[in-house]
């Protein structure tokens, strides 16, 4: 039996991320699921965990989450190096970087990966994203106030290159993190629900059956989304300023 941890599930509930939780509840119905609140000690500190999921949270919770995890940074590095799956979406990915600059006030994050994030309230950037990783076509959406700058350490640790839509920032098509079994993206939830090919890949990595809930519908929706996202006339939504 695998152990799945929803890390800070009570804070990571923004931007469709409830979808990840009930999807994972169905996907991992036969596995052990631990729900760790923002005030709780993460399970991966004291016992083997096979997959950690960290969902999108607001800026105040980002800071709290980083403060909660910083004392366990070495343990988290060790778990990742030893193959623990770590999935993160949207603002949760920001916590894994070096720092977030909140309109002039810099807050240290976990520093697991070589990138910094700059938060600026306007404009709010809205983008659809299409890319490809390991032969799997990926779709996602972004709505964010942030732009990310990758350092040299991300040269071989970014997730995928976008073919449509913004990557780390408007001039960098590199998107997210892929390192060992870390899959993180700044696309919002439910990224892993709407990319069934990727989810099947992760299940196989976990040595679990790769059947998905509502699998046929998921692939049909994904295929239709791809047609839309790849169409040359598809235009990005508005920025809000």
């Amino acid at each position: 039996m695998k152990t799945i941890e929803y890390l800070f599930y009570d804070a990571g509930t923004l931007f469709g991320d409830y979808g990840h939780y009930y999807y994972f509840d169905q996907l991992f119905a036969s596995e052990r699921i631990i729900r760790t609140g923002l005030n709780d000690t993460p399970a991966f500190i004291n016992e083997p965990v096979d997959l950690v999921y960290l969902g999108a949270m607001n800026e105040r919770h980002q800071i709290m989450a980083a403060e909660r995890l910083l004392p366990f940074r070495d343990r988290l590095i060790s778990c990742i190096e030893n193959g623990m799956h770590f999935l993160a979406t949207c603002t949760a990915m920001d916590i894994l970087g070096q720092s977030i600059d909140y309109e002039g006030k810099t807050q240290a994050m976990l520093g697991l990966f070589d990138f910094t994030v700059k938060f600026q309230r306007w404009p709010r950037i809205n983008q659809f994203v299409y890319g490809e990783w390991n032969g799997i076509e990926l779709t996602g959406h972004k709505s964010q106030f942030t732009k990310t700058t990758f350092g040299p350490g991300m040269d071989d640790r970014y997730f995928f290159k976008t073919k449509r839509g913004m990557g780390a920032n408007p001039t960098d098509t590199r998107e997210g993190i892929h390192y060992k079994h870390v899959y993180a993206t700044q696309c919002m939830g439910p990224f892993f629900v709407i990319n069934p090919g990727l989810m099947k890949h992760i299940l196989r990595e976990l040595d679990l059956p790769d059947d998905l809930p509502a699998e046929a519908a998921a692939f049909e929706a994904h295929a239709n989304r791809l047609v839309e996202f790849k169409h040359p006339r598809a235009s990005q939504a508005m920025e809000v300023s």
Partner: protein, 460 residues
């Protein structure tokens, strides 16, 4: 106020001329007059003469309804006022409303403005209008593309609300009731109503953790989402004591509001049946009370008030019904509330639900459907709901979400357009057809309504 100048007068003339021309063709609220005026005079808004008293209504849901109730009461009382009744609540909509009330020389012709203002637009509207009263309906997560999350909107409102504004706040909402803590304020609340059950199954709770202590908040009564009575077990943060409390509903036709300071209770005609209607009506009445109107005056005037029908509209065709409920585009709470109402329908017989609230009805502008994953589609998993239809460019995404919500596949139908979906329905199979509508795709919704109306009329 800045000196007006010739540029202002030209801008005003062009804007008023456009507004009048548009009105001749039967159109209502519009942002265009303000845009025209600003194009000609970029400082136009700063130069507008402010009415003597300005009341603004903001919040995630209910702004338009509260504004309509207040405005209808004022109209019944013969009090001239500026108002934006058609949901044109962005910066430009507020300016267009004020333009209507300026004479050709730029003088304000009314002493009172009652304006609904979108939360984001408060940052540009409030600094100039400096509202005397700001009434906040409630704060929930809204469009992810515009509003981000409630923390962000709270910060934005805290920056925008002038320190001299009186706030009217919902004490059952621990998010909005914490706004601008140094401002003068009064609170309203709706008591737990007879027979009212808590709704603890909603996915969305925008206040599950105490903002200060980050410990889980204890809800003693969770009305829906984060609305209700709650306390932080660590710091003791809890609901403020309300100055106005809606205490009970009398035989479904009357709401009673207790005024705590005088220990008096006043009855008012109940305008809508749902709890959100009761909140909206309560706020409207409290706002009118804080504007100085006597309870008896309000009670008399409110008897004629009708809530805008696009929010909840019911038509009967013999023994069949067609209901339109506004779900609002990209707004997960409004859509969840709509689904909760549908799931709670009584004596509706066999029900068909058609979800037609797509926000972006264009083939090449991929809509973000993340919000659907925060909506309780599970509320539609009822034996009496026989069919759930979705019409959208993104219908396959909706279908995936419905299936993840354990909706039986044989109940789900989908089509690329509202018209196509409506044509798939045989009204003989149902007693009630419910359309969950949005605000953006009016032509498609109207087409679907017309098709269904024709079918229903023919089936009588």
């Amino acid at each position: 106020m800045m000196k007006k100048g010739l540029r202002f007068i030209v801008a005003l003339f062009a804007a008023k001329w456009f507004a009048r021309t548009v009105r001749l063709f039967g159109h209502g609220g519009s942002h265009t007059p303000a845009r025209i005026a600003k194009r000609i005079d970029p400082a136009f808004f700063e130069k507008i003469e402010r009415p003597a008293k300005v009341v603004c209504i903001t919040g995630t849901n209910g702004k338009t309804t509260v504004n309509n109730i207040v405005s209808q009461v004022l109209t019944k009382l013969g009090i001239g006022h500026a108002r934006n009744l058609f949901g044109s609540n962005l910066h430009a909509g507020a300016v267009s409303t004020l333009i209507e009330m300026l004479d050709w020389r730029g003088r304000m012709t009314v002493d009172l403005a009652v304006l609904e203002v979108d939360e984001i637009s408060t940052k540009t509207v409030f600094p100039y209008l400096k509202p005397d009263i700001v009434a906040v309906t409630v704060l929930f997560r809204d469009s992810y593309a515009r509003n981000a999350h409630t923390d962000f909107i709270s910060e934005l409102l805290n920056d925008a609300i002038p320190e001299e504004s009186l706030l009217i706040l919902n004490s059952d909402d621990l998010i909005s009731s914490s706004l601008a803590p140094d401002n003068q304020r009064c609170f309203f609340s709706v008591d737990r109503l007879p027979g009212e059950e808590p709704e603890t199954t909603a996915l969305i709770n925008d206040l599950s953790l105490c903002p200060t202590c980050r410990v889980p908040i204890d809800y003693t009564f969770q009305r829906y989402h984060h609305i209700g009575r709650a306390t932080c077990p660590s710091c003791g943060m809890t609901n403020a004591g309300a100055d106005y409390v809606t205490t009970k509903l009398e035989n479904e036709h009357l709401i009673e509001i207790q005024e705590v300071s005088t220990a008096s209770v006043h009855g008012y005609k109940q305008i809508g049946a749902n709890i959100t209607d009761i909140y909206n009506e309560t706020l409207a009445i409290v706002l009118l009370r804080e504007m100085g109107f006597q309870p008896e005056t309000i009670a008399d005037a409110i008897t004629d008030v009708k809530v805008k029908s696009s929010r909840f509209d019911e038509e009967t065709f013999g023994d069949k019904r067609m209901i339109s409920i506004m779900g609002k585009d990209q707004n997960p709470v409004a859509t969840t509330r709509a689904f909760a109402v549908i799931g709670g329908l009584k004596d509706a017989g066999r029900v068909c639900v058609l979800i037609v609230n797509e926000s972006i009805d264009l083939p090449f502008c991929p809509e973000n459907l993340a919000y659907v994953y925060d909506v309780n589609v599970e509320y539609l998993d009822r034996p009496f709901i026989k069919t759930i239809g979705v019409a959208s460019q993104r219908r396959h995404d909706y279908v995936q979400r419905l299936l993840l919500g354990h909706i039986a596949p044989e109940k789900i139908i989908s089509a690329t357009s509202e018209k196509e979906l409506a044509n798939m329905i045989n009204v003989d199979d149902y007693d009630t057809i419910v359309l969950v509508t949005g605000t953006s795709n009016a032509p498609g919704i109207k087409e679907a309504q017309t098709i269904l109306r024709t079918q229903l009329a023919a089936s009588r």
